[in-house]
Symmetry: C2
Subunit: 424 residues, 2 copies
């Protein structure tokens, strides 16, 4: 401000700002492109998912082919030379490193997730969304000869587009990639690209009549001391359930690997175990994503053991090598655990279901802002103080566990110290 | 996970988690305490502000004493040996350094802000809120013999409490201190303390019948390509207005200092200039906070020159040494500029007023998440996609300008590069 204003300075400033303007325009163009292209892929995947789920519901005997499905998935990854695939972990680590995400990840995760769901594996869809978006985004970046750092933004952009098209929550989709990779650092340089990409993909999804998710909280008590204490207790329990879920996922994989060295056998065995469990349970409530069960929790009905069974089904499915994601199961576990807590304590079961979803999402992703935003998109704004409180506690008390092993937590959850710790 | 489970390990884990539990309980207790104590101070300040504003409105001739008010403020700071006071900048820098915030900052800013407003200076209240909260929080930390890092959390906690009591927006109050200090780094270790503190202070404020702010957007057009383009243009203009406001504030101070060395004369001269301007304008719309004018923008009425006049009034008030803050003027400028844009383009003036407030708040604070959250608290959730888009663009294009000179922007707004740049 105190430099003398010379002609050179003015020219320099103008050039500098023109460069920034060019960058802004570049990102507007490429993020619209990414939103359109990856949004379309996400929409195709959405309809694929709807079709396989409807098919399995119509022909429940399809689950007997789950072991075969598992073998197909392993074979597919073998044929495309991607046995060492680390999935979403690779997408996250590519954002803070120079790792390349191969384009073949996209068709692989697309098909293998559909196989998992057609035959009744218990999994989510967001792993697919993030991998589809990340790998296509990365390839677009390569195609346009973007430098390393711009390619990172393209990856985030792609993640936003696919997440937004599939989940129908554009705001959370835009912020999630900025927040989740290195918790405590917000990659705001990708804010505009991710927002545009997410909004464009969401617009496309609406055009194809994909309805955004919406769960109505039937009864919101007044926020006061006693309701705040109740919600805090629920949040603490949710943090523990998050830890349990993360540990189950990781242990399940470790135990499978320890006892069955051959990946084909492992997937087949996993398939058999899921069939057995399904027969024991007597219905297919815990196979697939289970979105219908989440809706039931918002009517206030839930089986007390539902959250535990979903943890077991999901850990045994994904640990064996099936593909998908963990977020929809996370919502299932949260909604059913919350609803159970509400039923036992007599404190609005539907509010508790919403809080459970938000708090356990936060516990396993370590992303408080995204948790808050996705809650508003799913439940509306009326329960804000309850959600805010629960998410804060769940973040603090869920430890350094997480769904994604390449996620880093940059600052301690208890002190303002830099720790740069990998989640486990 | 692969360590052998020995007795020592189990004992270590238990001890470790008990320590964490103790930390959690410690923060619950101290954040409730901070919410209560600082919330009460914030409420007292709120009523003080209401009283001085009502008094000035009843006796408009009070503004002729503004030069005297300025002299009183300088004298007050001189008497309490705080001439070098850097206000909110010190509070922000204390969070990432070992700087102490003196307790006398609290009464000083309390009284001097009231003086500024009683005699019709144009300023806000959040500077007072952040300084009251920060200095009392810091003193509480010292009182309880907290270590350096815990004192930083106490400062943030105090800022949340005061902001929440005054503004009635607990969610934004809880997140603002985590986001604003080092943009790009989120101090999540203070999440639980800040959330509790903000909710407690908000509860107190509601108890004292302080109504949270609420501006109804009368007409929300459908979000589509043409409305998105319109909002993007508005957001780009808002980014430019943010830059203009920041430059005006800083230049005004520099010019005052250059031409008048004596601080008493400076304040008196500033007071005289504001009196002259008020007489020229012919009303007191631009004196004080101007909350009533913000409300008018939501009826769709605005004077075209309003935003420019508010920039001039505020820059000339604060630059001369008067105290207060910049956030309510920021909202005034945003609402009046947005409403003007809406009136000119025929695109929902009330929606544009809301977008203007959110986008210019983001432009001058560089805090996109807080901007989003405070928007939802003030306007509800219905205009979400417009707000999201506008905030993203305003963040990107407002450059490295900002209200607080001790704020740091850690990562480039255009690349994922670490820059650690002070705002100017």
């Amino acid at each position: 401000m105190n430099e003398p204003v010379t002609k050179e300075l003015v020219i320099h400033k103008i050039k500098h700002n023109l460069r920034r303007l060019r960058t802004a325009i570049k990102w507007i163009i490429f993020s619209i492109l990414s939103g359109l292209l990856i949004g379309m892929v996400g929409i195709a995947f959405y309809f694929g998912m709807t079709w396989v789920t409807d098919t399995r519901t119509a022909y429940p005997w399809l689950i007997f082919f789950l072991p075969l499905g598992g073998i197909m998935i392993i074979l597919l990854y073998h044929l495309l030379h991607d046995e060492k695939d680390t999935g979403t972990n690779l997408v996250l680590s590519a954002i803070h490193s120079g790792d390349e995400i191969p384009l073949r990840m996209a068709p692989l995760i697309f098909i293998s997730t559909l196989i998992t769901h057609l035959f009744g594996g218990s999994a989510g869809r967001e792993g697919a969304a993030l991998q589809l978006g990340g790998s296509i985004g990365n390839s677009l970046g390569r195609l346009f000869r973007f430098d390393e750092k711009d390619k990172h933004i393209m990856i985030m952009c792609g993640m936003s587009a696919a997440f937004s098209a599939l989940f129908g929550t554009p705001m959370a989709a835009a912020i999630f990639p900025l927040e989740v990779v290195s918790v405590g650092i917000m990659h705001y340089s990708a804010l505009v690209p991710c927002v545009i990409s997410a909004l464009v993909a969401h617009g496309l999804a609406l055009h194809f009549q994909i309805a955004p998710p919406s769960f109505a909280i039937l009864d919101i008590p007044e926020f006061g001391i006693s309701s705040a204490v109740t919600v805090t207790i629920l949040a603490v329990l949710c943090a523990l359930v998050s830890i349990l879920f993360c540990i189950s996922l990781h242990y399940s994989e470790a135990i499978y690997r320890k006892f069955i060295k051959n990946p084909y056998l492992r997937a087949a065995a996993g398939g058999c175990i899921i069939i057995l469990l399904t027969l024991l349970v007597g219905n297919q409530d815990y196979n697939g994503t289970g979105v219908n069960i989440i809706s039931k929790c918002f009517d206030g009905t839930v089986a007390p053991e539902a959250f535990l069974l979903k943890i077991i089904f999901t850990a045994l499915t994904l640990g064996a090598g099936f593909k998908g994601g963990e977020i929809v199961p996370t919502f299932f576990i949260g909604a059913s655990f919350g609803c159970l807590f509400g039923t036992l304590t007599g404190f609005s079961p539907t509010l508790c279901a919403a809080i459970g979803m938000a708090a356990i999402f936060c516990g396993v992703t370590n992303s408080p802002i995204t948790s808050l935003l996705i809650s508003f998109e799913m439940f509306g704004f009326a329960a804000m103080p309850f959600l805010l409180l629960a998410i804060a506690f769940s973040y603090m008390l869920s430890g350094y566990y997480g769904l994604y092993r390449s996620q880093k937590i940059m600052y301690s959850k208890f002190k303002t110290s830099y720790i740069n710790k990998q989640t486990h």
